[in-house]
C-alpha cells in the first residue's frame, strides 16, 4: 500500500472563518482541494455561501454559515456542531492606514478589536474544543507587518505582531494536549482589501518591486500554506510563523507610500 499523503485532508472538516473573500476564500478552496469538508464562515453570509457554492461546483464539499469572529458563544456553537473538525483557519482583519499622530481612539479600537480580540476569540473557542478533543490545528493570520512596518501601518502592525505572540503562547499552552497553533504571515496579496492600492499604479508597482519575486501574491498561494499548516504534513510545527511573502522579509529596503 502506498504511504498516506500527509497533505491530504480527506474525511476531515476544516473551519475557515473569513471564508467569504480574499485569503479566507483562498484557504477554504485550498483545504477543499486537499479533500477536506470546509465549513465556510463569514460575517457576510452571502459571500460565505458563494465560496461554498464554488467549492461544491468544483466537486468539493463545503457548507456556509454566518459568524461574527467576535461572538465567542456563536463560534462555540458553530464549531461544536461540526464533525471530524481537525483545523480552524481565521483570517478576518481590518486596517486603517493612518499616521500615528492622526489616529483617532475609535479607529484604534476598531483595528485592535477585530484583529487582536478576534484572534483571541478563536484561540479560546478552538483552543478549548481542541484541547478537550486531544488534537487539532489552529492557523491565525499575521502579516509581514508583524516584522516590518511603514508610515501609516503602526496600529495594524502592532496587532499583527500581537497575533504572533498570542499564537506562540497558545502553542506553548496547548502543545501538551496535541494542539498546534501557527501563524501565517502573508506579504502583499491581491484581495478585495488591497484593490485600492493596486489601482494606484505607483504604489502597486512599488510593492511588487519590494518583494524578491517581483510580484504580488495570490490568495491561493496563501491558501495552500494554510492547508499545509492544517494538515499532518506539518505535525511537528507549532508556534511557527510562516511568511508567504515572495521574499519581502528576506531582503532589506524601504518604500514610503503616499500619505
Amino acid at each position: 500500500m502506498a504511504p498516506r499523503n500527509p497533505f491530504r485532508l480527506d474525511g476531515r472538516t476544516v473551519a475557515v472563518i473569513g471564508a467569504g473573500s480574499g485569503i479566507g476564500e483562498g484557504a477554504a478552496e485550498a483545504c477543499a482541494r486537499q479533500g477536506a469538508c470546509v465549513a465556510c464562515f463569514d460575517v457576510n453570509l452571502i459571500a460565505a455561501r458563494a465560496t461554498a457554492d464554488r467549492i461544491v461546483a468544483a466537486g468539493g464539499r463545503a457548507d456556509a454559515a454566518e459568524l461574527d469572529i467576535l461572538d465567542s458563544d456563536a463560534m462555540t456553537s458553530a464549531l461544536e456542531a461540526l464533525e471530524d473538525l481537525c483545523g480552524v483557519v481565521a483570517t478576518p482583519g481590518v486596517n486603517v492606514r493612518k499616521r500615528l499622530l492622526d489616529y483617532r481612539p475609535d479607529e484604534f479600537d476598531r483595528v485592535v478589536t477585530l484583529n487582536l480580540r478576534g484572534a483571541m476569540c478563536v484561540l479560546q473557542v478552538a483552543g478549548r474544543l481542541f484541547t478537550d478533543a486531544g488534537g487539532g490545528s489552529i492557523v491565525l493570520l499575521s502579516s509581514i507587518r508583524s516584522q516590518v512596518t511603514e508610515p501609516g501601518q503602526g496600529v495594524y502592525a502592532a496587532t499583527k505582531a500581537g497575533i504572533v505572540q498570542l499564537a506562540r503562547t497558545a502553542a506553548a499552552e496547548f502543545g501538551g494536549a496535541g494542539v498546534r497553533v501557527n501563524a501565517l504571515a502573508p506579504g502583499v496579496v491581491d484581495t478585495p482589501l488591497t484593490k485600492p492600492i493596486q489601482q494606484n499604479e505607483a504604489w502597486n508597482s512599488a510593492y511588487a518591486g519590494k518583494t524578491a519575486l517581483g510580484r504580488w501574491g495570490r490568495p491561493d498561494e496563501i491558501g495552500n500554506a494554510a492547508a499545509f499548516l492544517v494538515s499532518d504534513a506539518s505535525s511537528y510545527m507549532t508556534g511557527a510563523v510562516l511568511f508567504v511573502d515572495g521574499g519581502w522579509t528576506a531582503i532589506d529596503g524601504r518604500f514610503d507610500p503616499p500619505a
Binding site: G178, N224, A225, S235, M237, T238, A240, L242, V244
Partner: protein
C-alpha cells in the same frame, strides 16, 4: 519544469538529496519519491546509497546513487553532471548533508571547527551554487537547505559553537540566495528542525537525561519523528509554496517559542 496538477506533488521532477545515506536524508529521499520525483541520492558512503536507491526503485520510483563529498568542489560538479546526464534536469535540491561534534567551545579545536564549517556551510554553498546555476539556466527550481533551530538559538547544554555558527550561516545565506535568484525563477528556503532521532543524535537519544530535557523543554512534549520533516521539505520543494522564498521553516514542536 514539468507542471503538476496537485500543487503539493512533484511528478516528473528531479530532486537531489545530499547526506542521503543516513537518518533524515533517507526520509527526504523516500518522501520526494513518494511525491512523484525522480531522486538522486548522494553521500560519501556509496553502499548505503545503492541500497536506498534500490528500495526507492522497488517502490516504483526512479533513483540514482552518486557518491559525493559536499565539501569538495569536484565532487559537487560531478554530482551535478551525473544528475543531468541521467535525468536531463534538476528541479529540487535538498541540501541536507551535515555533521556535528559537540564539545565546549574552550576545548573546540580549529580542526573540529573547520571540519564542521566545511561540510555544513561550505558544502551547502557549493551545492546551492552548482545546482542553483543549473536551475537559473532552466529558469525554475526550488532549493531546500537543512538548517536547524540551532541556526536561530544557541544550544548551550549540547555545546557546539561550530555547528550553531554553520547553521546560522545557512539561515542567512538562504535569504541572500533567495534575494539574488528570486526573479529568475529559483526559490531558496530552509527548514530548521529541533531534535529528531538520527545518527547524528544517536548518543543523545540513548540518554534518559537528554530525552527528559527535550520532553520538558518542548511544548509538544516530545522529540520529532523523522517523517515529520518530510511534509515541510515537500511543501517547500513543490509549487504549493510558490510565494515562499528566503524563509527558514522552524519544525521544532515549539522549541523556539518558550
Amino acid at each position: 519544469m514539468p507542471a503538476c496538477n496537485d500543487l503539493f506533488r512533484l511528478d516528473g521532477r528531479t530532486a537531489v538529496v545530499t547526506g542521503a545515506s543516513s537518518g533524515l536524508g533517507i526520509v527526504f529521499a523516500h518522501a520526494l519519491a513518494a511525491a512523484g520525483a525522480s531522486v538522486v541520492v548522494s553521500a560519501r558512503r556509496l553502499d548505503r546509497l545503492e541500497q536506498l536507491a534500490g528500495e526507492i526503485e522497488r517502490e516504483g520510483g526512479q533513483a540514482l546513487a552518486v557518491a559525493c563529498d559536499v565539501a569538495s568542489e569536484e565532487d559537487v560538479d560531478a554530482l551535478a553532471a551525473k544528475t543531468v546526464n541521467r535525468f536531463g534536469r534538476v528541479d529540487v535540491l535538498v541540501a541536507n548533508a551535515g555533521v556535528s561534534d559537540p564539545r565546549p567551545a574552550e576545548h573546540e579545536t580549529l580542526d573540529v571547527w573547520q571540519r564542521i564549517l566545511a561540510v555544513n556551510l561550505t558544502g551547502v554553498f557549493l551545492c546551492n551554487r552548482r545546482f542553483g546555476a543549473l536551475m537559473l539556466e532552466q529558469g525554475s527550481g526550488s532549493i531546500v537547505n537543512v538548517a536547524s533551530v540551532l541556526g536561530v538559538v544557541g544550544a548551550g547544554q549540547i555545546p557546539q559553537a561550530s555547528y550553531t555558527a554553520s547553521k546560522g550561516g545557512v539561515v542567512n545565506m538562504t535569504r541572500e540566495l533567495a534575494a539574488q535568484w528570486a526573479r529568475r525563477g529559483v526559490r531558496v528556503n530552509a527548514i530548521g528542525p529541533a531534535w529528531f532521532e538520527s545518527e547524528m543524535t544517536e548518543e543523545m537519544f540513548a540518554s534518559d537525561q537528554a530525552l527528559r530535557w527535550i520532553r520538558r523543554k518542548t511544548p509538544m512534549g516530545r522529540p520529532g519523528r523523522g517523517e515529520e520533516l518530510a511534509g515541510p521539505v515537500v511543501f517547500l520543494a513543490s509549487d504549493a509554496s510558490s510565494y515562499v522564498t528566503g524563509q527558514t521553516l522552524l519544525v521544532d514542536g515549539g522549541w523556539t517559542v518558550v
